[in-house]
Symmetry: C2
Amino acid sequence: MPRSGEDARRRLQDAALALFRERGYDHTTTAEIAAQAGVTERTFFRHFPDKREVLFESQEKLATALTQAIAEAPQDLSPMAVLQRAFQQVAPRFEANRSYSLPRQELIERTPILKERETSKLGALSQTLAVSLERRGIDGFRAQLAARSGMAIFALVLDAWFKDPSRSLADYFSRAFVELGRL
Amino acid sequence: MPRSGEDARRRLQDAALALFRERGYDHTTTAEIAAQAGVTERTFFRHFPDKREVLFESQEKLATALTQAIAEAPQDLSPMAVLQRAFQQVAPRFEANRSYSLPRQELIERTPILKERETSKLGALSQTLAVSLERRGIDGFRAQLAARSGMAIFALVLDAWFKDPSRSLADYFSRAFVELGRL
DNA sequence: ATCGTTGACGTCAGTAACTGTCATTATATT
DNA sequence: AATATAATGACAGTTACTGACGTCAACGAT
């Protein structure tokens, strides 16, 4: 068996985040990232389909975790309750990695083209959640609506928690779902 | 006064949509679009900051229309009622232009990179709506949540209406807001 | 220990999106 | 007709991204 490539991949991700934060996203070339990681530019594009994607592996993992959490939820819960439960289950991921996810989020927030990729990923994620809800027997339109409103909460809560971590994510989620009920 | 440039702009938009639909987005170069419009590639990028943006001028107009509709809504309405009213007001735009907006939407739907731009624009739009709601005295978090849930409805309704135009947009909107209340 | 397999990596050439700069052209106004 | 001004053309340059092909490193089998 040949070498794994996992090392190079991680080095590329680290180098990218570091350089993006130092010089800004568009003043960093993929060649520079590759050089700092000790590989060629070509190798960068073997690991990531484009320059932005180097920052979004965690989001992929989040998607699978949420999908699994929904699939395992008890059958008698309402759509929104299922989502709330799933969100609470993945919350520790963020609270354990704030030192990584916070600077990453700051970078994304101040870089329009990265923000675009992030919103797009969240949109795709809500689509995935909708499918998961449908698999539980929920009507298509209701599932879509619940998933999208749920993702709205998810994004808002994370945003609030990044700005003020004094309250727990669980707390933020609970309050947000109550708020949605009032609208 | 010099020439206006509006003609070239419209020709570029028409050429782009036509070519994208014929050959697909990524098998069409900006140079080809420019040639078909009778201008240079450089002129393309004077009118649009990037290749995708040539398809999204209508979305900008939608944003201003919605913002205005919210600002003009009676003061005693709930956030969701304000949004519903605003959506109903802009609905005729789509029903009058289905022959343009449907093929455009089909193209966006089958082109990931265009879909990404669209979701991003909708995200930005919901941010704008949130600000409009805040200006009406609605609390920040509630405004954000209402705006995002509202945009979820907006996107879902349009999608449904594109697939089945036998029911009116007004009808779709009414039912969707009722559905959201039930979640 | 050697060998062969396999997938990661390097090298190189090429395309196309996008930008900066400066000269030129078209039109409304005087 | 002369002029001011914004749109356009011309051209060089950077950088993201791709295809093709050869090389190398790690592991299993012998």
